[in-house]
Symmetry: C2
Subunit: 376 residues, 2 copies
Amino acid sequence: LPVRLVVLGAGRVGGAMVADLVADGEFEVTVADVSAQALKRPAVAGAARKVQADLADPAAVSQIAAEHDLVVGAVPGPIGFQTLKAVVQAGRHYVDISFFEQDPFELDTLAKDRGVVALVDCGVAPGLSNLILGHHDAASDYIDRFICYVGGLPAVRTGPFAYRAPFSPIDIIAEYTRPARYVEGGELKVAEALEQLEQIQFPEVGTLEAFLTDGLRTLVNTVQVPDMREKTMRYPGHADRMLFLRELGLFSEEPIDVEGVTLAPVRLTAKLLFPFWRFQPGEADITVMRVEVDAASDGVRSRHVYDLLDHYDPKTDTQSMARTTGYTCTAMVRLVARGLYAAPGISPPEYVGRAPGCFESVLADLAARGVSLAKS
Amino acid sequence: LPVRLVVLGAGRVGGAMVADLVADGEFEVTVADVSAQALKRPAVAGAARKVQADLADPAAVSQIAAEHDLVVGAVPGPIGFQTLKAVVQAGRHYVDISFFEQDPFELDTLAKDRGVVALVDCGVAPGLSNLILGHHDAASDYIDRFICYVGGLPAVRTGPFAYRAPFSPIDIIAEYTRPARYVEGGELKVAEALEQLEQIQFPEVGTLEAFLTDGLRTLVNTVQVPDMREKTMRYPGHADRMLFLRELGLFSEEPIDVEGVTLAPVRLTAKLLFPFWRFQPGEADITVMRVEVDAASDGVRSRHVYDLLDHYDPKTDTQSMARTTGYTCTAMVRLVARGLYAAPGISPPEYVGRAPGCFESVLADLAARGVSLAKS
């Protein structure tokens, strides 16, 4: 019998995952979403079953999960944690890309008790970057340094921002205001986002800038690496403008009085940014990532550098952001479906990277879809 | 008998003018303001009479004017035109620095009928710049080109703006949004403010940037010069940031809805800019101006360049902005009081500059107060 999968969420990423998993031919794929409109998305046309359900209701999620062997999560971040919990409670394996703020390990004991394999943060970064680090962590005596540069960008630079956001402006602004954790000299440190600005030369793309953001997530607890950073990449000039808006107070969540009207400045800013940052229909994006791992084995030190450059697919109107995050997630789904990764409990991708064969399998799946990591 | 003068407005500029006119010893100086607080300003301590009156009421202005021989205007721009009219109707000579938007020539016939000498725009630019052009206009066969670069700046560059505003942010923003008129090839043209950005090397100050603003005022009608521009100078980087805020929509006067609240974005922007742009008590400012006049006489073409660099006076806590605008105005007051300029009707400073001896007299008065125009 085929493995029965359900993909929760038929958004851009969920849709790309449904299309990819259906194409495998080895799964019976259901897709669930609250929006009838989303369920009409061409990408999900091949699904065996379409379920219109309110995924913000954990009882509905548990019920849908119970009807399938494996659950794939692509729901909005704010309901990500409750959805993980609902699936675990239903006793079903879960592979998730619904980045949420809470600590997934709060559900580790529950998942182990239920014998559930629950993979979280299965995108690009966090996701693929963690997988790379986990792989080298297992293959090396020790790792000195890890840095992940990552960015989603419009392919063509347009307007005063040369930027488009795959999410709403308010979520991007949150990345620029949230204190950024990093590890230096073996100590966990916190800086302001947008600090530690540097320039990066990226093949085929040119000069980019990179700045600190709070993207290490689980890595600050799961690996012993004395120097770790995650940096976001943008076209040059972006950080300066964001710093400027932040310093002016336009990113503030604190409501202020303006001539009798009370408003948090960030609300106005997000509203004004929206038309500038919105991808136009059919507008091409790119995903860029560079991961550097400094490792030592048998006394030999090496720097492993991985470069990823992926493009929008005009044939299927699939954004690169959806390709890179979605196909990493579906590659993880195959690991679980085929029993190649079977550790009960919560597993971030660095755990998966440590397990024999998993790293190679995910990279092979990505390569087959045109997402290739160049190693140097 | 001494000439009885009244200075309308005891603000920073009005105060500096009162102190300057009192020091002459040849005038009996009254100062009028609605604010009791303003009338306690040390600068106006030497006035013979202090009148607390609502200058927004034209009847009050006419009454005060009638009690004096000559009126000096330093009221807020929005009531500048009605104040001019009230003084003219009272039949008193007027020297004004209260820049207003309306066309002063609407009152020219009335002023001529009453035999009133009314000098308007008697500051630095407009003001001194017009005087220079008028002087060369009278002394030359023709003038090819006039450009005025002018800026008021903090002496020390601080914070994300390296700028302080002598007026409220909303008035500065208005200069960055008002279409800028200029003359090119003999035609009146209109560009957006902040356009035609260039860099200027200014002695002792260093590199500044200059961009088009709508500062030609009366000159577009009163002189025949085929190429005329007024540009505002700032420390480098200012125009880029202002363009950015403008393009983002943050200078818009158009109210928009933000999550149920209706607000013109510029209101929030002005509120957020205020603490950054406000001069701190005792903070030093500078005034920079460069005027270039390309003139021809008897077949000889010359470029006349005037540079002005003036500083805050810490002894009397007088801002350079108040010194340069105020002392230009008081120099014009002396011309009228002494009968050196006596043409009835509305006279912008270019008319004064054309009259024999006036240009030299104003420059001598300014030099005596440490405001010197370097000519090259």
